[in-house]
């Protein structure tokens, strides 16, 4: 009975509760990451007036502290939407262009973990080149 009380005291002490909570949170986070790291990046491209642009090329760059690395291109479909499947980074730069319509600013995409599944909420807007 004495040992039972001691175990309960240990379990309730902050030296157990705090590390245990940290371990629980860390595990839950890793589970979440494992379920959402398919590397898919989805978005859509519009022109200055807001109409979807078909056939625009979206350039995807991976960013570190000092370098940009080209990771590939995708083309938008008929509804202006594009999907990039092979993202392995947590920090991307996207740039879209279409001959005759214009090119966009560099859109920065920062993720909470590598290859996070992300659907970009706002469109990449093509501005006409002067």
């Amino acid at each position: 009975m004495r040992f039972d009380l001691r175990w309960r005291a240990i379990l309730r002490s902050r030296f157990f509760v705090v590390p245990a909570s940290i371990a629980v949170v860390a595990t839950a986070w890793n589970v979440y990451v494992g379920m959402h790291n398919d590397g898919v990046v989805r978005g859509h491209v519009t022109d200055a007036s807001g109409a979807p642009v078909e056939g625009a090329t979206v350039l995807i760059l991976e960013q570190t502290f000092t370098t940009h690395t080209d990771r590939g291109r995708v083309t938008t479909g008929p509804d202006g939407r594009f999907e990039f499947r092979d993202n392995r980074s947590h920090h991307l730069l996207l740039r879209a262009e279409k001959a005759g319509v214009g090119r966009s600013e560099q859109e920065e995409v920062r993720l909470a973990f590598r290859a996070q599944h992300v659907e970009l909420p706002s469109p990449i807007v093509l501005k006409s080149s002067p």
Binding site: F15, F65, H91, R110, A112
Partner: protein, 280 residues
């Protein structure tokens, strides 16, 4: 008939608000660096822009993500954890054993205690050159053991244990010996459980010292992959200087375990520092 004086005489009753004011100002000044680094790690807007804004503007956690992926932070974290674990384990075992020996009376005890106290006067920084040569001769350069070895025992903690062990009633020890326990078992089953405060103090002190240790790993470590966090932080600083908020995110990530542990075990930490202090 004189009236009974109130417990606090007029000379001792004093207004509290100036003290509160002074302490509030002091606390504010002490906390400003924390706030400033937290703000920069969350926004990074001040890196190239002047004047800085006093409040976080568009805070985000992405600098922390950068730190985790773009530099070998997980590896450095592992190095720090391993070295600290080694130091803590060795500290508890060696210090408890030495303190237990010091609770007995034996010839030369006074000499040993004087020796230990005089070793406290030798700061680590005056030993770095030969310590490096010794570690090299032992073949422990660039290894976890080499990084942890000088911190395997601390004199302050020995005396903390000794004070705690001295308070254990002699009858308990005698009873345990009659029960047939060996001396090591006595330490493990009788002394340590009764001195849990001293153990907590030892764990906290040795963790903080080994986690924050910078000079010794700087001397001993050659490979970038064996660096513990302080070295990694310094390396990051020299690589990237002030060009990214991730440096400050790195600082925050490195400070959090120390702060968390300190807040959890403040009493033990303070007692360890002052009892070591009062012992000379």
């Amino acid at each position: 008939m004189t009236t009974l004086r109130p417990r606090r005489s007029a000379a001792q009753r004093y207004p509290h608000w100036p003290i509160h004011l002074a302490l509030l100002v002091t606390s504010f000044l002490m906390l400003v660096p924390f706030y400033w680094v937290l703000k920069t790690s969350l926004t990074g807007e001040n890196i190239f822009v002047y004047p800085p804004s006093l409040w976080p503007v568009h805070p985000h956690l992405y600098f922390f993500v950068d730190v985790w992926y773009l530099i070998p932070f997980p590896r450095w974290l592992l190095n720090s954890v391993v070295v600290s674990a080694l130091a803590i384990a060795a500290n508890v075992v060696f210090n408890a054993m030495a303190a237990y020996a010091l609770t007995r009376h034996f010839r030369g005890k006074r000499l040993v205690i004087t020796l230990l106290l005089s070793c406290m006067m030798i700061p680590f920084q005056t030993t770095i050159v030969p310590a490096y040569l010794i570690t090299g001769r032992l073949g422990l350069l660039n290894s976890y053991l080499g990084m942890a070895l000088p911190t395997f025992s601390t004199i302050v903690c020995i005396f903390v244990y000794k004070a705690a062990f001295d308070a254990v009633p002699r009858s308990l020890i005698d009873a345990a010996r009659i029960d047939g326990l060996s001396e090591l078992q006595i330490i493990r089953r009788v002394m340590l459980p009764l001195s849990s405060a001293a153990v907590a103090t030892n764990v906290i002190l040795s963790f903080i010292w080994s986690w924050n240790n910078f000079l010794w790993p700087l001397i001993v470590v050659r490979d970038a992959s064996m660096q513990p966090l302080p070295l990694g932080l310094s390396r990051f600083l020299s690589d990237h200087e002030n060009t990214t908020g991730a440096l400050y995110a790195f600082c925050i990530m490195v400070l959090l375990p120390g702060i968390a542990l300190f807040l959890m075990a403040q009493q033990q930490f303070i007692r360890g520092l002052t009892s070591g202090a009062t012992k000379g």
